[in-house]
Symmetry: C2
Subunit: 349 residues, 2 copies
């Protein structure tokens, strides 16, 4: 995903990871120091998501104070957009590997996950969101979902809604998700609940858009505690963009089929199946899927089996149409246009 | 390295890898097919350097024609700038891994290297280059070096010069280089010969610049058979740029020390040594060293222990001064300014 300021709506700088407020984060240094002692570690690797990389040197300083002089602390310079996106090189070559800012996609003794919960107060935005929800006296059922960084306030949100007469429906999505009520940009299974409205508490527009696409029968109310606005998810613009991409790809002869090598983004079978049935499809493997990298290949269109957010959120930045696997099936005529849906990931790796 | 058209002088598109002439390359498909048969391979991975990635799909088509239907051919979408820059993910996960366009940095049963020699005629440019060389009757000694893609014409070059009365001095550099007379952007040991002039036959300005920096006592004549020009290497502009970068870094407090994770570019000991002696230095690990990635870190200057070409050729594109390890020692006052030299790599990995 882009980290420039001209980026599109799903820009990570608007998901609450950007430090608009001067927040105090709990880096859980004690837990890291303890692991170093236990393992008699010589090398400690730290991986931060894009919006928090700037904090890396200060965290390194604090750790150096607490650790013996001969312990080497290093920062991952690889882009990082989720727990699907572990720096596996660093993981293999350090004794203690710490991944900040995301909840575990898969537990492993090799990895210390430090969630970095937001301390933004959620009550004011819940208060505002009530206007967009049905009157609980008439329709009390509401689904509740949020992102990893507001998970620490989840019970508070639930209690607040229940106090106002709502019947709050929540569930844990699938094994890709750590927490009850958690959504990812590629997984909205936690909203598979018995209610025709869902309240999403969190920043950014990408998650609620995916939510609305995955659950077209539900009204998705967005309570953004970081930018302090309540809106209702609208999939129309998004659908238009996707239909446009599919239409532009319909004349494509040569297809580049991207298999993403990131640990939690690999869908080799999907990529393989396309290449197997289409003689004009070429399998391309890479970790970061960027416009520059794809410009090197003389293709008419691309299918991305990696992160769906790159396809849909960054799509317009690529020189050729970039489709999800499902959209590819529509573009080549295997499926009707009405089957267009949001691309999601299930399971871990 | 950049692959945009506004790039600096060392742009790879001017080294003869760009297809200005419609060349015929020998992809050595028979050798690949043979390896597939021998190993009963199911997956074949192909890696091309940037300037040749566009040829990947056509080579894939040709291979598919020759191979059984169930053999899957895949293209590496990772950037590639040398034999130091193998796609190790692809190498580990394919049964046959082919690296095109570079000569072996290290022989391995896992890797088939296909050199892709240029078929540009070198005689016309040798003819022109004589004007810049000393009269062989007075000073017959001349060193001869070239890049991997013109290696197939090396004996022809030598013979041509000898026929005109030159005493041609050549040597194989060190184990980083495959061929007698070969230079890399990071290794000019093949020019350690007993002559005060060296003829470089090849494209681009980066290699002869490195050559002239490494051998300041020698006149370096550049015979470029691709762009059809003869020039003499001039290090003045380059030195000015490097002195500028060093000066701008002299006030730096926080240093980012980059350890490059690419298989043939790792100099961990150099990176480690800097971080060990400087409390304001932070070790950052990454594969591609790009301006975008470094902008995420709040540093005053960077030291790159990876590819020297990124430091010097792409240097101006970074938001903060980017130095070689030797330049860092000057900037922090450990070494005098006169020690500034070209950063080179020796050995394999």
């Amino acid at each position: 995903m882009s980290h420039t300021s001209e980026s599109s709506e799903g820009d990570l700088t608007k998901t609450g990871m950007a430090l608009k407020h001067d927040r105090e984060w709990d880096y859980e240094l004690d837990r890291i120091v303890e692991a170093v002692e236990e393992r008699d570690a010589e090398k400690v690797g730290l991986q931060f998501p894009e919006g928090l990389k700037r904090r890396g040197p200060a965290v390194t300083d604090d750790l150096r104070e607490l650790l013996p002089d001969d312990v080497r602390v290093m920062l991952s310079g690889q882009p990082c957009y989720g727990a699907c996106d572990l720096d596996t090189y660093m993981m293999r070559r350090t004794d203690v590997f710490v991944h900040f800012g995301h909840s575990p996609m898969k537990e492993s003794e090799k990895i210390i996950y430090v969630p970095l919960f937001s301390n933004v107060d959620v009550e004011p935005i819940l208060e505002d969101s009530v206007d967009e929800l049905a009157d609980p006296a008439e329709n009390p059922d509401v689904g509740l979902v949020t992102t990893a960084q507001h998970m620490n306030k989840f019970e508070e949100m639930r209690g607040w809604l229940e106090d106002r007469g709502f019947d709050v429906h929540t569930r844990r999505g699938d094994e890709r998700l750590t927490h009850e009520g958690q959504v990812l940009g590629c997984n909205y299974a936690s909203a598979d609940i018995d209610a025709d409205q869902v309240l999403y508490v969190g920043g950014g527009k990408f998650h609620p858009l995916g939510l609305a696409m995955e659950h077209p029968d539900k009204k998705v109310v967005i309570a953004d505690p970081v930018n302090n606005v309540v809106t209702v998810a609208d999939t129309e613009k998004f659908l238009k963009q996707r239909y446009g991409a599919v239409h532009r790809a319909m004349d494509a002869e040569k297809w580049g089929v991207i298999f993403c090598t990131k640990i939690g983004q690999g869908r080799y079978d999907k990529a393989e199946a396309i290449v197997e049935e289409n003689d004009n499809a070429y399998l391309i493997t890479m970790d970061e899927v960027t416009p520059d990298r794809l410009r090197n290949f003389d293709m008419d269109a691309f299918v991305n089996t990696g992160c769906p957010r790159i396809t849909t959120d960054d799509g317009p930045r690529f020189h050729k149409p970039m489709l999800t696997p499902g959209e590819y099936e529509i573009a080549v005529g295997n499926e009707p246009l009405e089957t267009l849906e949001f691309d999601t990931f299930h399971g871990t790796w």
